[in-house]
Symmetry: D3
Subunit: 324 residues, 6 copies
């Protein structure tokens, strides 16, 4: 099948543009005007964002042509409606998934997934024999879960918000945990490592990440902490005679990894390992978030633009000498 | 066996008193003085509170005489040490559980447990046939869980902090849910009722309530929300073909019943039923807490003393005319 | 007089539209350009919102043609100015109030005002004879106040923000109070009922609700709590020998009904009835607010859009099977 | 009548002391032991504090001998009960109020009340003729209110917590308002002055200040803001044709003088005068509070002890050279 | 040199306008399109605001024509891009600074700088002889610093955000300090005066205020508190035998003048003078901020628009009778 | 000189004990009774805490016998006064410092100070040649400062609150910084290292740590951030041509190391290195604080007691099998 090249990305579209290109049909809803005629509200997505659209003509055949989640070829004109861009759609047709480049539609890690995963299993292979290593083995033996784990993003926005982001974040935390565990006494390295690897496992079901990233119903209703608890519980059940107290300590790291109630953890960290895990998670999320933000800055800027959530500009330093 | 009458309660003990009575041995820890000699730190409990004690002489036989959790007969003198009462123990011996009145050691609901439970099952029997009623049937069929549910308190302090308190709180909420569900449209009465009955089910394992009320390790590490999710998950698994979305809606009520992240819920209420459940829980906890507080006030007082947590005095009104 | 049909509503106007229709002239202010020439800034309103406008030509006759608050027929072209819609007005003329349909300009309850009010007075007729019932009779005997009470909205935005909204909210709370009062002992049903009916009585003067809803000067300066206190004080003065303590308890419910200082109550609830009143107010406001928000959602959506104030999406559930 | 000299003050009593002196009987409540016998809980007060007491013997005659609020001669022995001092009362008899020195029982301003009041009326006499000056005249013409105003404290604790404290605080604020009003344009000096004088007028009824200072029922239920509004409303009613807008501006200063909702004001300051009034109130309260706190410090200390509410030590500076 | 008159200000530019006028080139960054061609992002500024622009053609000569900070004559057409105005630049050339009116580009105080400064030095001349007066003399002897001090704004936004604003704010605070110092005992007038004059001295380097106002790198990294400490330290070093304790008291006023940690002060005010200084700063900043906000209101409006930061409308009162 | 052995420590003293031992005379203040007679308030300290005392007899000779800060031999009887222990002093005499063991009076690190310092200078010796290494060399060349740095505690309470604690905390952070710097790109290892070593340098003067640990006046007034800035500024001045921007980046790490304004940093971290430094500081402080808290727990306890500041119990785990 001939691959169709995508030429226009959503972030580049401006009012007045005529567009004929491929997008993900992210949402599709029928509505009615006051005169009773139907029209169709749609949302298109690609890796650079989302854009609303509307179909005034040929509504019914177009509504029947594709389902939410499909790739579609769209012919449309961009206009402004109430301060936002809107695509007025002339035609829309489903496109074979095999004929598009997935990386045009959803961002992905630039790192090697296979190598990252092997590095992670290398760390668990080096654990002391016992129930914690058996628990990790039970995880790695679940092919479906591993496949999700390799593909899931770590967030919808903010940090590691791309395919493979969960694995990238997890590996980085595991390596950091490994370094810090030896710095302090009283720390159970293997327990901390298990916490680093499993703390966000619920993200595999909290988010959907087919052709775009969004929350699942289950994610919005139960949160990745609630989902993670259920996944861990079922895997612990698969390890023979897993000690009850150790099970509670592992689950405590899922429950407490956000550090405080106001950040979504029903209990704050109460073990040395849970305290460290929370810090390692904060460091890795924050560092990745800031560095991603810096990378979007003008290459010649000495400061980033204002970061709304962190409420500050970040200092980048001198521009390269090849700048203007 | 002859029942041993308890004559002295902990809240009545003052410095200088000689005590010879029965208590729960709540804690027992060996320690050593600077000269190397061992001594024993103990804590005694009854329904009116807890008191520390110390054993200087005959340490080893006394340490061997009873375990934490046992009923013990204690001969001791009360003194003050660093601003707190302390019992200097002369002798201590285990007492047969059958020979004491349990209600002397841990407070219990004054209402009829059997009748309360029947009233609750009456409500679930009246539910529409379907997966929610089946789910409740699965709960009521688990004799161990029902036995815990009938006995558990609803809290360690604050409100319904007595044997049977969880059932009392649950029934009150279920009756209130029943009244309010009909007041608003868009409310699924049965779903709300299930939420009212199950929202605190994790308290059955978050707290221990043998001879005194305290948190369990599991409770401190995972919280009653985490425990409740696991219990509900296992019962849902016992109902054939329980719909996945309905399962998420039920679990959402466990997850969100504290109303906001800062109160320990990983997600805030996002369904009409979860919003109502949170309010019903707040009303019933608050009302019971205030009324219990009013009952401890001087009968002739027009205002309660200052309530530290709620940061106010409550108005009681005119004293009965038979007062001073 | 022939009724003039309004065809275009403000929420439908987009840049480029030519409009010739009837609006409320909500604001009118003369201003001057740098060259010294006068122009007129205006704001138009109807039940769907507000829109700014400007008059460049014929400024003086147009300024003289109508006052703020009048109905006006406007001929104008919609454009965009600094990111917001703006009507460039060509002509503007006052219109007889009798010739328009009021419901086009300010939203109103869909329920029967007369029936709601009778249901409410039915509740107060059933009160125990005594000062509280006499107080309510004094309210109902004040025709002007009753007329305002039947017409006032319960808020400018948020919940029950329409003509008759205050009565609707008040009746709903009174019925809920009636149900909950019997659930707990120590609750004075009649006192709670009076609180439910009077807690927002100051809204009758805090808001103006002629042809559109806004705050009055008095409302912004004194708040509906301050206004409500004055209204209640004057009515209590009209009841012979109203007991001083009971007066303080009634006024306390006005003062404390927002529940805490940070929500605008100078004192938090300190009586059982005031505690319950605060919860009943929260439940009814929140429930109405969420349900109104759900009704604005796309009929086929499973979740609402993001609710800025409550900081979450709400779950609606499956779309009707007749959807796309 | 011979004046009885008080020799012992409550702050000086220690365990083991035998006391025979005069106090205010602040509270008196009958209670019963488990054996059914009655005893009497009492609280005594003088200007240095409060102390609990108990009557075991001759309970009934002693209970009949005096009412709460009376001066009493007490013979008692001080002991410790549960970490607090307690007077075990042997005898108790009412004492004629004329025979005691009131200043032993409730602290009072050290400044001349008559002069302070004349200085205040001097300021209002200098106001522009018009409704605001008429309003102040209406206040000064109310002898009962003026008597309360001269006697009331400005608080129960914290600052100006003594007889005459309200007048002292009010005068200080009025003088400060006078100085600052001229510093900024757009400020209506007379309006600000009225605000400074009336903002705490509700304290005259929020507090009781007979033989000791406490909150009244009305104060706890309605707050001095609610009470102040009612007082101002009634006085405005006594001024012929007081302009409605000006009335709202005066009442706004009562409503908003705490500066923000979380400090008890239903509305924040929205006029220039209300903004200034809030700052002047904060400065005068804080300055008086800090200086009172410094005066309780050891004369040779360079820093005060830790101020719990303000969460810091305050710097006093070098001790006088005559110190140790 | 002939002065070039500026006719168009940024706040007046709308989409579609053709502009040919002088601006400050505030920022200039080279970027590249996907096809590899370079383009130039620019920002223009004048006293009414900032506007973005882009150069598509003649990129290199234009990039070389001027540096950030230069005055430039620009020919451009205004359009809208993603909801914001954007100038599409046709030509751009540097303009001699001497040929423009600086007051067109950066707002300045309307008051007489020389007179304000003399009034301020009049206050310090009247101080008691001693180290504090010597310290002020050391400041006034530093011509560079005085020149900056006379020119600096007091803020980038919010209040006194114009050339000379720091001097205006400082003088107003010094005069207010002078009035209030005498009102309370225990206040060291000269110390308070020094605090009023020096508290914001770090603003001279925290902000840049050449042709527009912005933060310096040092300002963003160290804050005006950190910079002010360094300036004061160096001047104290220039006074012979300045007492160490007095130095700490002066520096404490720099450190604590924001009043609390959450507002950026590492320590809260701990001396009487620091407490007063914080209030005087708040009053003067707030008063100026509100009055500036009122001045931007429609002259006929009775209320200002909503103040986002202070979260309220402010009452202005009746419009002048000459209004519409 | 014969060393005097201390036998009794303050934490062991109870009411009724007769004490004759050596303490630090921490405070000494003359006061007067109502009858005009002088008495002396004193505070004694050793490494286990502080205790108040009073001298009733021989006041003047005793007051003259020793100054605050001296070691004294005290003969006294312990009693209780208003709920706290109080030493009634019979005699008090100064003791030669050389005759006591300093470690009895102020706790010190158990680690080798010389080795810790060498390990730290080893890290700075390995830095890249350049201004940062020169800056560290300037610090290490200042013998007085190094002597203070080796001796200072890192806090008065909370964590590392003992002689040598600052060095211990600094070394731990430097080693951790070394490990983490390599984990992320964009991190300047040497800059981070300098931040780790200097961030708390102001503690050398914020605290006094002669015979006991307390805040200095300078510390309370300026904070260790303000003091640290001054120290760093003076050392930067000692390095020839230290780049201005690098100076600002170093000072930024002092300013921002508490992470947020509410924790005392005038600016939040705005560079990658400052963000990491804040986390490393939090980890090391928190880890040390929790481990110190665990070490005070009963050796057989599975949970610590409640940690007031961190608001939780911490899990310790199973007691050693040699327990009771």
């Amino acid at each position: 099948m001939v691959e169709q090249t995508k030429r226009v990305f959503i972030e580049e579209i401006a009012a007045g543009h005529h567009v004929n290109d491929i997008f993900v049909l992210a949402e599709k809803n029928m509505a009615h005007k006051r005169d009773g005629n139907a029209y169709l509200n749609v949302t298109f997505a690609d890796k650079t964002g989302r854009i609303k659209g509307v179909v005034w003509d040929n509504v019914e055949p177009i509504a029947a042509a594709a389902e939410a989640g499909d790739f579609v070829r769209v012919a449309a004109t961009a206009g402004e409606f109430r301060g936002a861009l809107q695509m007025v759609v002339k035609s829309l047709a489903a496109v074979e998934p095999d004929s598009v480049r997935p990386e045009d539609f959803i961002a992905a890690t630039t790192r090697n997934v296979k190598q990252m995963f092997e590095r992670l299993t290398g760390l668990t292979d080096a654990m002391q024999p016992g129930p914690l290593r058996d628990l990790m083995a039970a995880f790695w033996a679940d092919d479906d879960l591993v496949a999700q784990f390799k593909r899931a993003p770590a967030a919808k926005l903010m940090h590691h918000a791309y395919i493979g982001g969960l694995l990238e974040h997890t590996l980085s935390m595991a390596l950091l945990a490994d370094k810090i565990a030896g710095h302090y006494n009283r720390v159970d390295r293997d327990l901390l490592l298990v916490g680093a690897i499993l703390h966000d496992i619920g993200k595999t079901r909290e988010l959907s990440y087919g052709h775009s990233i969004d929350y699942t119903d289950e994610g919005r209703l139960i949160s990745h902490i609630g989902i993670g608890l259920a996944i861990v519980e079922s895997k612990i059940g698969a390890v023979k005679d897993f000690p009850a107290e150790l099970a509670a300590l592992v689950k405590h790291m899922i429950v407490s990894h956000h550090g405080a109630r106001e950040f979504g953890s029903p209990e704050p960290p109460k073990t040395i390992e849970a305290v460290l895990l929370n810090y390692i998670d904060e460091i890795d999320s924050r560092m990745n978030s800031i560095r991603e933000f810096m990378e979007t800055a003008d290459p010649s800027a000495r400061w980033t633009s204002y970061h709304r959530l962190l409420e500050r500009h970040f200092f980048i330093g001198d521009p390269p000498t090849t700048g203007v």
